[in-house]
Symmetry: C3
Subunit: 130 residues, 3 copies
């Protein structure tokens, strides 16, 4: 059971954590199985997507913001972050990624991202190797 502390700097941001996960996996010495990442927050999620062109994360946040704007949808939750809660559940609180020979079996263009929807903050992600 490992812990990753992840810092976001903006209200909405995709923070890539691929290298940190890969490093912890290497250090574990386990050869084959699955890595489960789980975010302990209700206004952030975890996803896998393209890490080559920064316009992909930018377009993702832009589309989510267009569909679910912070204001104007008739939200009642008083903290003015209902949009963030909803985006968190749409993206999901965890990702499960297979690995072999100690290496994450990510595709050619895949990176792992913490999806921050109500930052900047420090977030905590649990990592389990099974």
């Amino acid at each position: 059971m490992l812990i990753l502390k992840i810092k976001s700097n903006s209200r909405e941001e995709l923070v890539e954590i691929t290298e940190r996960v890969a490093e912890k996996l290497t250090n574990s010495g386990v050869a084959e199985g699955i890595v489960v990442l789980y975010v302990q927050h209700t206004t952030a999620g975890l996803t896998v997507n393209e890490n080559a062109d920064p316009d992909v994360p930018r377009d993702m946040l832009h589309a989510l913001r267009t569909l679910i704007p912070q204001h104007g949808m008739g939200f009642r939750h008083g903290e003015e972050n209902s949009d963030a809660h909803i985006k968190a559940s749409l993206i999901g609180p965890s990702v499960t990624i297979p690995f072999k020979d100690g290496k994450l079996l990510l595709g050619r263009w895949q990176g792992i991202f913490l999806c921050e929807f109500d930052g900047g903050r420090e977030r905590q992600v649990i990592m389990v190797i099974r």
Copy 2:
């Protein structure tokens, strides 16, 4: 392999199941690992989100209903629940949550919810401890 039967009372409802999952985990006697919850239905999902303010689940259902209304999007499926099928896949049929010392590693504000999109019904969730 455990089974949870969960009753919903409205067409759309978030039913919190955190305590029931925690109790089954305690009863299993297993100290550390992951809990996988899996809903055996195509118009319901599972998520983790805030369980303190009931306006958060309310706002979530409201936003999903605004984006994907039951009628008026040109759906062809004859049961008038295409919206529920789509919401189910957006939220997802399963959640995976780490635990340690027999306790779910949920964050401070996190609860586990069955997301009912075509109730009220009795739903079945499979729980696996690994």
Copy 3:
């Protein structure tokens, strides 16, 4: 660690893979646990939904296309497939399904689908039995 190669024929398509997963599970000889499926691409996802009426997958793709059209949302990513990247993260890159007595514990109406959002292509899915 098993590999499934899956062919899509259209830009957007739900390709059912239930039988192929079930067959590999049977061949493994493992009785009980979880199957993790993971897609190694950033413009495709994996989901579980109804496999009886083909209008359900049709309506799902239609709704996603209505919410996140390929053009007109102000995307900057130059490959004209930002919509596909976003849909991939909304649906998610993996599904985890319990099994018992060598059989997937799918509900009565559930099938497993590769969600193609930028095809037709050959896609690769990793299957882990744990």
